[in-house]
Symmetry: C2
Subunit: 205 residues, 2 copies
DNA sequence: AATATTGGATACCTCTACTATCTATGTTAG
DNA sequence: CTAACATAGATAGTAGAGGTATCCAATATT
């Protein structure tokens, strides 16, 4: 298919597709002539993935490129993909110097006997959030976080269950990406609804 | 205190503070003369809150204003604050027309007997995420989401526990805000770490 | 009195994510 | 076979977000 068909089938304008090609989010099509290239279903799929990551999850174009690069690099090694590629996504702010709460995070990880890389970006995100909360007068220690971490453990188990039985490594890697990244807004939405429900329950009993 | 002290104590530049004043994120100080105003600890606290919401959580300035307005409006009514004010935060994308997965969400809510307002934005977020996943070949039905929702229920119970025993309504409202919004990156970070751990466990056993 | 600071207003800046235009080439309908 | 239209690639332009810089008149400090 040519670019205009790719555009109409994906709902993304031709100029935007060209922009993604320039930015390296989308691999170039197969050149058939000097001013002609051919695209296939892989491109369409990739394009939809890009729109999901930027639109639903709100990732920036450069972060999306990093994620997609990682996807290509670690396809077939879901463990590395989960540990490294997806870790490259900044959940919160840019990693600044202060890791004043790193000790709390370490205590939590040790208590749970978690096997988590020492340089995992999620550690930094967690430490920074704790530091912010502390500065605002809500000091959470690792003991308070423990029950949350236990629930995260069970959530992660559900996530990994979803990846069982997928033999095609590319498919498995892509699904890992989708479930980890795209499911985040869904899980937060579930939490919001559950909070509303729980609050109603406690206030009307 | 005057604006320069507010600036040095918060680490936010004077010009940025003026910008926040213009944008209505920060209430104006008490005017003592035509070119002089006095700020207090409330302003300092508010400023730190703004930086936490925009920096750690990545909220836009306009969303932050909405959240802070809601905080002022519903102080003393934590239930409404949780249900409405915090619901105003867009977790994902701008609410577009397609709510093709709204039926799945409704089925889930009914199964759980959740008391969630029909117009809760979290419903839309969830429906949209499901629609995106479906378009990408990962159709999740409400049955798959059910165990996730059960865990969300327990997370919400922990959240509400944290609000117990706070008598000052302003403090309770602010803590509700902090725990719901600022804890999100922390919970996602915990999930990432738990995924890495679980993946390592399954691959090395 | 001299110097610095402040509030308020306005203009400007940088970055991101596109969007528009241009040109040289290809394709296709009549 | 030619006129109308599509295409790749390059370059320039745009709108919005989130500040930043400058100016001014009034006020505070020394």
């Amino acid at each position: 298919m040519r670019i205009s068909e790719l555009s109409s089938r994906s709902g993304v304008s031709v100029t935007t597709i060209k922009y993604y090609l320039r930015e390296g989010l989308l691999p170039p099509g197969r050149q058939t002539a000097a001013t002609q290239a051919e695209y296939d279903d892989q491109h369409l799929r990739r394009l939809r993935l890009i729109r999901a990551l930027t639109g639903v999850r709100g990732l920036s174009v450069s972060t999306t490129r990093e994620v997609l690069d990682a996807l290509a690099e670690y396809t077939g090694d879901t463990h590395r993909l989960l540990g490294l590629a997806l870790g490259s996504i900044r959940v919160g702010e840019v990693p600044s110097g202060d890791a004043s709460q790193a000790a709390e995070v370490q205590a939590l990880v040790e208590e749970l006997h978690w096997d988590v890389h020492a340089s995992a970006p999620a550690r930094t995100t967690l430490a920074e959030t704790l530091a912010s909360l502390r500065a605002l007068g809500v000091p959470l220690d690792w003991r308070t976080l423990l029950p949350y971490a236990r629930l995260a453990e069970r959530t992660a188990a559900l996530d990994l269950d979803q990846l069982e039985g997928l033999d095609d490594p590319l498919e498995a890697a892509e699904r890992a990406l989708l479930l980890t990244v795209l499911l985040e807004p869904a899980l937060m939405a579930l939490r919001r609804m559950a909070q509303e429900n729980e609050s109603a329950r406690r206030h009307t009993s």
